[in-house]
Amino acid sequence: MAQFGLFIQQMVNGLSIGGVYGLSAIGYALIYSVFGFSNFVHGEFTMVGAFVALFTASSLNAPFAVSVLAGMAGAAITAVLVERVAYSPLQNRRAPSLYFFVSAMGMSILLQNLGIVTLGATFRTFPLKLPIETIRFGNISVGAIDILTFFLSICGVFLLEAILKYTRTGRAIRAVAYDSYAASLMGINISRTSMAVFLLAGLLAGLSGVLRGVSYTIYPTMGSIVIKIWVCAILGGLGSVSGAFVGGILLGVIETLVSGYISSSYRDVFTFVLLIAVLLIRPAGLMGKTVEEKA
């Protein structure tokens, strides 16, 4: 296989993985940009989305699109519940962002273990029979699901930006992100806006969870990918939703090229070296605003 062909295939692989990361990172970055803390429970939102879709597809024999929507709904509901239980009490007390971070980690561990206890730690496959699984261009193979994931991530970015720019809720969200106290003085219902943010993040997380579950496997601790998502968000610039998407693509490509041309064992080493480099050289990331606290 010619060297160039090899490179093209690796780029395709990288973009495929990047699409998965990107889609997961968008919802995560939304929460960061509005509330200023890392919502590590985001991984568990994706896990819930994947499992709800799995059960809808296998037990209720629903068509794929319905399962995806069910997964998104499940994740969104979970997100809103977590917001009510773990964050709004802290919000009302004007707690520092570190408290939110700790609360997030706690909820994350809780949901993971709840999943292990109730669902069992076995790996499950999503029952999906696509008419075409892989598309071949000569020697290059592209997964059909990967194309779908990439396409949906881009749609997700545009849709989210549109909501933020053109809808009332979107404007409220932006106001809260800028200054929540001032926004409340302007008559914006912080509590309702908060739930709306988590709803949106949950929907996106659910979608990414289902697609990840279809591409790989579904299991209760699949949310542990959130560390990588955090890296994507930092690369792209915490505080920028489209930045997080770009960060996701970038991470996917870098990981693949390192695995493909250097060694698979160095992949994670490289990722975190890159993270440190970004934090030292350009902490705002590619497209973000300068923020001191990245927790």
Partner: protein, 390 residues
């Protein structure tokens, strides 16, 4: 009146102390043996099979009157195949539950984690399925095995070796080897496969490492595609192997797949689907083995659990039998006596082979114990043939 109250209190306390003493005395009739393994998490499919195999043996032994006229009781702990957790479980079994022997572990890495405890507490440990050479011999080939560690399964040397022999026999000469750098088991099979394959005139065209727990392998598989092998060897565990096989086929890799017993699980075919079809797996036991002792075990197991036993169940069953047989020959439940008797085991027929313990390695002798070749056909692993374990 006061003195009466004190008298009554003293009598009550005395009765309570005696009551505490009495259950202890009746429990001492049981001979306790410990088991630690993964009942949840990554290795759960195997740990569960091992537990069922041990329970089957426990029931058979107790139904036949137990050992030395006493019933045996196996105490099970779930350690999630976590190297820290297994140390805790084993310590609890020895110090709190006071077991006379410990059956552990399916994972070579966990065996190595608790091997020092076997020597520290001088309790014999028997592993049913760990195959890395250093589990029983800190320096393989030195003739100085760990005094208190034994196994009833052939090591990675036999496994990798028989895999290489079979793959060469089928006409494959250019192998790609995928291994897991985080698992001692995988490194062991990789080494023994490579050595035997090269000695039989084969060539390893490319070697790629992955890390257990990862799901995305297309970068590594693209490199393998470029090296143009005619067979791809998976020395990893079943979850990673299933994803690797799926992604490999999607990338257009049509080569024959083969692997060690890390692949032996129905989870492999469940996760991989048609991608696993035709893959060879070397392992230690097959429920389709026509020998009567195997078929009887299979029937009883299937009646209880509705599915066939696998190598884990078969070997774990034999591990408990090894300990029970040793207790009988030692005529004692003292851990040292049991250890000495295990070392002298000769031609003990198990469902998963005949065990003659090699004094110099604490492994079963390969001339009495076979390896088994399986192949994935129609979505399940099927018995092909038994080969020598030498």
């Amino acid at each position: 009146m006061r003195r009466m109250r004190y008298l009554v209190l003293t009598v009550v306390v005395l009765i309570m102390v005696m009551a505490l003493g009495v259950p202890a005395a009746s429990k001492a009739k049981e001979i306790k043996i410990g088991w630690s393994g993964p009942l949840s998490g990554d290795g759960a499919a195997w740990g569960q099979m091992e537990q069922w195999g041990v329970q089957a043996a426990e029931k058979e032994i107790n139904d036949a009157g137990g050992v030395l006229g006493r019933p045996i009781k196996v105490i099970f702990y779930d350690d999630r195949a976590d190297k820290l957790e297994v140390v805790n479980s084993v310590k609890r079994l020895i110090t709190r539950d006071k077991v006379v022997a410990v059956l552990t572990h399916a994972y070579s890495s966990c065996c190595l984690a608790v091997a020092p405890l076997a020597e520290q507490y001088k309790v014999p440990f028997v592993s049913a399925m760990a195959t890395h050479p250093t589990v029983t011999e800190p320096t393989p080939g030195s003739g100085k095995p760990r005094p208190n560690f034994f196994r009833v399964v052939l090591t990675a040397v036999a496994e990798g070796g028989s895999l290489a022999t079979y793959v060469r026999e089928r006409g494959f000469g250019k192998a790609a080897v995928i291994y897991d750098i985080s698992q001692d088991y995988s490194l062991g099979i990789r080494d023994s496969f490579t050595k035997k394959f090269n000695s039989l005139g084969g060539k390893i065209v490319v070697e790629e490492s992955i890390k257990g727990g990862e799901e995305e392998f297309r970068a590594v598989l693209t490199r393998i595609k470029a090296a143009n092998p005619d067979v791809i060897i998976f020395t990893v565990y079943y979850k990673e192997a299933a994803l690797l096989m799926k992604q490999a086929r999607a990338l257009g890799l049509d080569q024959q797949f083969a692997g060690g017993n890390g692949l032996e699980s129905e989870v492999l075919t469940q996760l991989a689907g048609p991608a696993a079809e035709g893959a060879y797996v070397t392992t230690h036991f097959s429920p389709e083995d026509p020998r009567p002792i195997v078929q009887e075990f299979r029937d009883r197991f299937k009646a209880e659990h509705k599915i066939d036993p696998d190598s884990n169940a078969g070997k774990a069953h034999d591990a408990l039998y090894l300990v029970a047989d040793a207790i009988r020959r030692a005529k004692s439940d003292d851990s040292k006596a049991i250890r000495d008797a295990i070392e002298k085991t000769t031609k003990l027929d198990g469902v998963a082979g005949t065990i003659t313990m090699n004094l110099k390695t604490h492994n079963p002798s390969g001339s009495d114990m076979p390896m088994v070749i399986l192949q994935v056909k129609d979505g399940a692993l099927h018995y092909v043939k038994s080969v020598s374990g030498e």
